[in-house]
């Protein structure tokens, strides 16, 4: 290892990378061997020298040992030397192994991204399955039985984080606009798939050539229902990387989420009656009723917990730290509660996340919001990785019963039924849609119907005594999963490019679009009212008004309940821009989309000249005067700055006043950008305790202040009246303003309370020395919102939940 480190220091970059990779894989291998080593150790329960010498962390000690068994016989106690170091693996066995697996999964994920070309060709899910296969193989070679993906673990621990992540960040607008289509695909499509496959498989089984006669109709139908459901985990894993347009994404993904209800009902129905051998009409009818109960019940349970969570978050203003916990626990409770009654847990989770999100986000702090986002992404990522790895391991571990006919027929039928189902349904759906689904869209929807671990787990849950052909089923399920994930998963990306399917728009939402979207909503509602028929927009508007009037008042704390959506959006954009500004902090690239030199003064209407109190001088002369003043001021300040050093707040982050010049240049750029980008930072201060302001938390005001407020040489633009730019100007000590400024900063420095208090609002007085017209200033309120610790790497749009 030490050699490696030495080598790293001396060789070139590429060698370094490959060495790092090598070390990483070495680590992984070590962990693998460890995991196998501990199993026999754990199994036998006795300390021994069988452990790896590389597993130093165990603290294997061949010296003094306390025999575990010996301590169980207190009557036979003889005096032994006091055990300095002992080995007791049993009592940490389970968490230890879990941690090892999680660590392995995460290291694998890390490793894939170090290999540059691989991750662009092969989707991650495939690689993880391969790793799982390898690990399973390794374990088998060592002689142990590899663990199989336990359905209990899967459904209770691995699946919920992924679904919660999807539900919390579900883009509501496209989802609700396409809800009819999604439901059609989910319900009718899945039903069609199940019956088509089950029926045809039964027909195939009856053929004399194969020895599948034992498989009765109900078992076939059960198998059909298990295998026909599109899997959200697999869809997410693959679609995340191909970035297709929003519509297709939400169609396939929404379908995979909503078909859970159908799958649950069909599964239980057929499982119940497969043993009996027949299903009556009453049972079918009850099945339909059950479906409605399962689906709606799941949604209601989820919505109930969601409202509870929203209500709780209203009161968390004093305990910000545990806010994320409420979100997670309430959602998990929703899932478990639904599972208690055999309702659809997935739909409960989705409903909970979607219902609570707007209210919770209005109540919680910015940091909690970031925490929730990143925890959800982290958990779902780890879960997904573990699921795929375990799929691979289970493949190696399981007993397989391979039947060529069954498997091949299954795969072919899967594809055929999916295509037929999609085409048929689209034909019907397009009659009701304005934006019709084209053939390309249909192809992607059909091709994107991947199967995954849910099918496997459901198959695994089957009782062997009732279903002797369970192993054959499992083999077929695994084969189908492999086929869809590998073949379809790998080829979908080039196909998307080949067919030139519309990709996701990367544009940011602009304030104009937001204004006009709202305007359009109101306009269309108005037209509908004039027409006199209650359409889509009318009901949406009614729901919004109900929401605003009653629900928001209950669930959102304080002032924010009254904040209209446009203003909330606007403040969000402001914050984003401010954060970007701070983070880019003098970087060359302008964070905003369009570099331009247009500023506020260009759009303000000109004042009629009669308002001027001072005699009018020609513009050229004015410019000259300004220049002169500016230069003089600059010289003065340059001279004076060296005396100002001690009145400035000390900057702990930058040593060496040698780079003062460089920094000054950077800050001039910032200042220029700020005045240019002041399109958003123009809102005059809202009420001091307005919740929007209190949301901007100041952890360390000085950190941010250093970056922005620095000795300015001069204000970069001559200002005109009522120009609400943000100019921060640290005047020379002679001006009376400077004292105030300095005091303010010191106040800020000392006001670094724990950030549970309200945000600090800095009102920076504007010391303007070179204005021609002093008397036409209107509002001089300069508001600077200092934001610190904005969370890791710039906010992604919450409307894009599917990006990693």
């Amino acid at each position: 290892m030490a050699l490696g480190r030495l080598a790293l220091g001396t060789v070139g970059a590429s060698r370094r990378v490959s060495l790092q990779r090598g070390l990483l894989f070495l680590c992984a291998l070590v962990l693998l061997l460890l995991s196998e080593a501990v199993e026999p150790l754990g199994a036998s329960g006795s300390p021994g020298g069988a452990g790896d010498s590389s597993g130093g962390s165990h603290g294997l000690q061949k010296g003094c040992e306390a025999d575990v068994t010996k301590s169980k016989h207190p009557t036979n106690r003889t005096k032994k030397p006091f055990p300095v170091l002992s080995f007791d693996y049993e009592h940490v066995k389970t968490p230890f192994e879990i941690s090892l697996w999680v660590l392995l999964a995460s290291l694998m994920k890390l490793g894939f991204h170090l290999i540059p070309r691989l991750s662009s060709i092969v989707p991650e899910s495939c690689l993880l399955i391969v790793v799982g296969l390898l690990v399973g193989g390794l374990i088998k070679v060592v002689g142990e039985t590899p663990p199989v993906l336990d359905s209990q673990v899967f459904f209770l621990f691995l699946l919920p984080p992924i679904i919660l992540d999807a539900g919390y960040f579900l883009p509501i607008r496209p989802f609700s606009e396409n809800l009819g289509t999604i439901l059609m695909f989910a319900v009718v499509g899945t039903l069609w798939n199940s019956f088509f496959m089950g029926g045809l498989l039964y027909g195939v089984c009856q053929i004399k050539g194969t020895d599948l006669n034992t498989v009765n109709l109900l078992a076939c139908l059960l198998f059909g229902s298990i295998i026909s459901a599109v899997d959200p985990v697999a869809v997410l894993a693959v679609f995340e990387e191909i970035h297709i347009n929003e519509l297709l994404h939400i169609l396939v993904f929404g379908e995979s989420l909503l078909n859970d209800a159908v799958t649950v009902v069909l599964y239980h129905l057929f499982e119940e009656y497969a043993g009996v051998g027949s299903v009556s009409i009453l049972d079918v009818f009850l099945g339909v009723v059950c479906f409605l109960v399962v689906a709606l019940g799941g949604v209601l349970v989820g919505a109930f917990y969601g409202i509870l969570a929203a209500f709780t978050s209203r009161f968390t203003s004093h305990t910000r730290v545990i806010e994320p916990l409420f979100v997670f626990v309430y959602s998990y409770m929703a899932y478990l509660s639904a599972e208690v009654f055999h309702l659809s847990g997935i739909m409960a989770l989705i409903a909970c996340g979607a219902v609570m999100r707007p209210y919770v986000e209005a109540n919680i702090s910015h940091k909690s919001h970031t925490t929730i986002k990143y925890f959800l992404k982290m958990w779902s990522s780890v879960s997904e990785t573990l699921i795929f790895i375990f799929l691979g391991v289970s493949t190696v571990a399981g007993n397989h019963s391979w039947n060529w006919t069954f498997v091949t027929v299954t795969i072919i039928l899967c594809l055929v039924s999916r295509v037929l189902g999609v085409v048929g349904l689209t034909y019907v759906i397009n009659k009701f849609r304005i934006v019709k689904l084209t053939t390309k869209d249909q192809f992607i929807v059909a091709y994107g119907g991947l199967r995954g671990a849910i099918a496997f787990s459901l198959g695994y849950l089957l009782d062997k005594s009732h279903f002797p052909m369970r192993d054959m089923f499992l083999t077929a399920i695994i084969t189908v999963i492999f086929f869809t994930v590998f073949v379809q998963g790998m080829t979908i990306r080039p196909l998307v490019d080949l067919l030139a399917v519309k990709k996701k728009q990367e544009t940011k939402r602009s304030i104009n679009e937001e204004i006009h979207t709202q305007f359009l909503d109101h306009l269309l509602t108005g037209i509908e009212d004039i027409c006199g028929h209650y359409g889509h927009h009318h009901w949406k508007d009614k729901l919004n008004r109900f929401n605003k009037k009653y629900v928001k008042k209950c669930l959102i704390a304080g002032e924010r309940s009254k904040e209209p959506q446009l203003i909330a959006f606007y403040h969000k954009m402001e914050m984003k821009q401010a954060i970007e500004l701070v983070e880019s902090g003098g970087g060359v690239k302008l964070p905003s989309a369009v570099p331009s030199t247009v500023s506020m003064q260009n759009i303000q209407p000109k004042k009629p000249p009669s308002d001027r109190a001072i005699p009018q001088i020609s513009k050229g002369r004015e410019e000259e005067i300004r220049k002169i003043l500016r230069n003089n001021l600059q010289k003065t300040r340059q001279r004076l700055r060296s005396y100002n050093r001690h009145t400035l707040v000390a900057d702990p982050y930058e040593d060496g006043w040698n780079d003062l010049l460089f920094k000054r240049q950077k800050l001039m750029e910032i200042e220029k950008k700020m005045s240019k980008m002041s399109n958003y930072l123009t809102v005059p201060a809202a009420a001091p305790d307005s919740p929007t302001l209190s949301r901007a938390r100041l952890a360390s005001a000085t950190y941010v202040l250093q970056k922005i407020v620095y000795p300015q040489a001069y204000s970069s633009k001559p200002t005109s009246d009522d120009l609400p730019t943000i100019k921060v100007d640290l005047a020379s000590p002679q001006s009376p303003d400077s004292v105030n400024l300095v005091n303010e900063f010191q106040k800020a420095a000392t006001q670094n309370d724990p950030d549970d208090d309200g945000g600090l609002v800095m009102k920076v007085p504007f010391a303007d020395k070179d204005q021609g017209e002093q008397d036409n200033k209107k509002e001089q309120q300069r508001l600077m919102r200092c934001l610190s610790d904005p969370g890791p790497g710039g906010d992604e749009e919450e409307d894009e939940p599917f990006l990693p």
Binding site: L524, H533, V594, S596, I603
Partner: protein, 217 residues
């Protein structure tokens, strides 16, 4: 009731169907609604619109009502506003919201449809018909949108409108000297800035072929 009762209007309806693209059933339903609103007279006035109760809670109701009386929306290249409108004019304004099957259209047709719909929106904002949306007009638009938020809305509306205007200017013009003045949003700038919203697929309502006017006031 139904199509049969409107026999005297049959031939007119056919002509209108040709002109506006609505189906005969839709036209007869809208005619009934027109009669309902105008209390069986031949023309509609602004006051008649105010009787629609659902419209009362709409923040931009005045603009919407104005749009019906705006000559620019009558597809006759007129200007100014009128005091009362006939059924034909009513229908013409409504035809701006007719759903069109977009996927069968060519690029140019899509583009012209976009322009037409955005022109309608533009006319709604550009109240003095000078071809540009000035800052004042835009401010009024945002104020109306936020008109239900009380005092909080007023000041923020100004800020929002300013920011939006700045964005349009930045996107459209790019580089301006400090003393240049951006007159207002022209129609081309308007088109550019709203490129992201797929207007042609969103600005429509479903005109049913079933008569539901009796179900609601």
């Amino acid at each position: 009731m139904g199509v049969f009762h409107s026999a005297p209007y049959e031939h007119e309806f056919h002509a209108l169907a040709e002109k506006t693209g609505f189906s005969l059933e839709q036209i007869s339903i809208l005619h009934k609604r027109f009669m309902q609103l105008s209390h069986n007279e031949d023309s509609l006035r602004r006051e008649d619109f105010k009787t629609i109760s659902d419209l009362a809670s709409n923040p931009i109701r005045f603009q919407i009502i104005e749009a019906f009386f705006d000559k620019r929306n009558f597809r006759q290249n007129g200007e100014g506003s009128v005091e009362e409108i006939s059924f034909e004019q009513f229908l013409t304004v409504m035809s701006h919201f007719r759903p069109v099957p977009v996927h069968t259209m060519t690029e140019e047709q899509r583009e012209s449809l976009r322009r037409e719909k955005l022109r309608f929106l533009f006319n709604m904002h550009d109240t003095d018909n000078d071809g540009t949306i000035t800052l004042e007009e835009y401010r009024r638009v945002v104020e109306e949108l936020l008109s239900r938020s009380g005092a909080l809305g007023k000041e923020t509306a100004k800020g929002i409108a300013d920011a939006a205007m700045l964005e349009v200017a930045s996107v459209s013009v790019g580089h301006m000297e400090p003393d240049e003045f951006y007159e207002g949003i022209t129609f081309d700038h308007f088109l550019k800035i709203l490129n992201g919203i797929e207007i042609e697929t969103r600005m429509h309502i479903r005109f049913l072929n079933m008569d539901t006017t009796n179900l609601c006031k």
